[in-house]
């Protein structure tokens, strides 16, 4: 419960900050036990996308995707906001570089 309230508060705070394209789609994925959930994200093609990555593990992770041109370190027990796109329709893989055996995911633009 506490975690949910905290997550909501953090999301609200991120939305209020200037400069970030507002996360109106509320796209979020969470890293837990070195896995992404959800691991498959559907986004509209041709639009700038803002994705919030929550790292629920105690260890840091590097969110990396050559296809999305994103590389971002996310410390343990924290979250990061990532921007990418506009994308052409297709699928774009991403991974957690520090635990790439399990931390795999894909963005599908359509």
């Amino acid at each position: 419960m506490k975690a949910i309230v905290l997550a909501l508060a953090l999301t609200a705070a991120a939305g209020l900050m200037p400069g970030i394209a507002r996360a109106q789609d509320g796209l979020t994925t969470t890293i837990k036990d070195h896995k992404f959930a959800p691991a498959e994200l559907r986004v509209p093609a041709g639009k700038r996308i803002t994705l919030t990555v929550v790292n629920d593990d105690a260890t840091p992770e590097e969110f990396e995707s050559r296809a999305l041109k994103v590389e971002k370190v996310i410390p343990g027990k924290s979250k990061a906001v990532i921007q990418f796109g506009p994308l052409k329709p297709g699928s774009y893989k991403f991974e957690g570089e520090f635990n790439s055996k399990t931390a795999q995911g894909v963005v599908i633009a359509e």
């Binding site: 260890t59 050559r66 924290s78 990061a80």
Partner: protein
């Protein structure tokens, strides 16, 4: 253990290549060992600080702190590399003549090693902070920690060996060509860093124009592999560069050439030695 070794090695080779090139570019210059060691030391210290404040940096500037810091670090390194090449264009010839006349000792203290020491420091800082965070994660993770930690440490050792190989490889070049070769390498290095900075500015939402990929060679030469990674560090190879990245890459090479020409002393007849 092997997994940890490979991850750390991949992070370390980029800084390793840069150190190798800087070592070759400063061959025969007195005091270079001290300056480059200072650069590495400062970089490691900076990397630890950046890793320690990773959370705060990430949250800064409305969640764009990490991207902006990376872009700034790369931008500063590009400026330093340009300064170095311009200085060499101005003084390189007279230095070569003096070296020939009086011997190598004369170069002592005459060459600004600060610029290259800063470049080394920035390279170590950028790659090193990720290594520090990764190793910290292993230690914090607990299970099988010591085995993976050993792998991480071996990865750093392998990276250092790679630096040595780069240096020795460049040393094999005859000394009358070494200035030209290192000048070209430093130019490509700067162009690649500038293109990389563009990617971070895009990720930060600062510059989001001309983002379409010009080519896609990810199946032929993936940037995640060792060769792709080395080429990326060496000359800014990118498997999917945006139009803006290509433009900036070419622009940096062009401005470096213009800058060096402008800095070069007017040609005067060289006296017979």
């Amino acid at each position: 253990m092997i997994g940890a070794l490979i991850i750390v090695f991949r992070e370390v080779i980029e800084a390793g290549l840069i150190i190798g090139i800087v070592l070759a570019a400063t061959r025969g210059v007195h005091g270079r060992g001290k300056w480059i060691s200072l650069g590495v030391l400062g970089g490691v210290l900076g990397a630890s600080i950046v890793a320690g404040f990773a959370g705060a940096i990430s949250d800064a500037f409305a969640g764009r702190g990490q991207e902006l810091l990376n872009a700034a670090v790369l931008g500063a390194a590009v400026v330093m590399l340009m300064w170095h090449n311009a200085w060499m264009a101005r003084h390189g010839r007279e230095m070569a003549v003096e070296m020939f006349q009086i011997g190598e000792a004369v170069t002592e203290g005459k060459r600004p090693l600060t610029a290259l020491a800063v470049v080394v420091g920035l390279a170590v800082l950028r790659e090193g902070s990720e290594v520090v965070l990764f190793l910290y994660g292993i230690v914090a993770g607990g299970t099988s920690g010591s085995d993976m930690l050993l792998g991480g440490v071996l990865g750093i050792v392998a990276g250092a060996a790679f630096t040595g190989l780069t240096y020795l490889g460049l040393l094999a070049i005859p000394s009358r060509y070494i200035f030209s070769v290192t000048t070209i390498l430093i130019t490509l290095l700067a162009a690649g860093m500038a293109a990389q900075a563009v990617q971070y500015l895009d990720a930060a939402g600062v510059v989001t124009v001309l983002t379409d990929s010009v080519w896609d060679t990810s199946t032929w030469l993936p940037q995640s592999g060792i060769v792709g990674r080395a080429l990326h560090a060496l000359m800014g190879y990118n498997e999917r560069p945006s139009m803006l990245q290509v433009i900036v890459y070419v622009a940096v090479i062009a401005s470096m050439a213009v800058l060096m020409r402008a800095a070069a002393p007017p040609r005067k007849p060289v006296q017979a030695i």
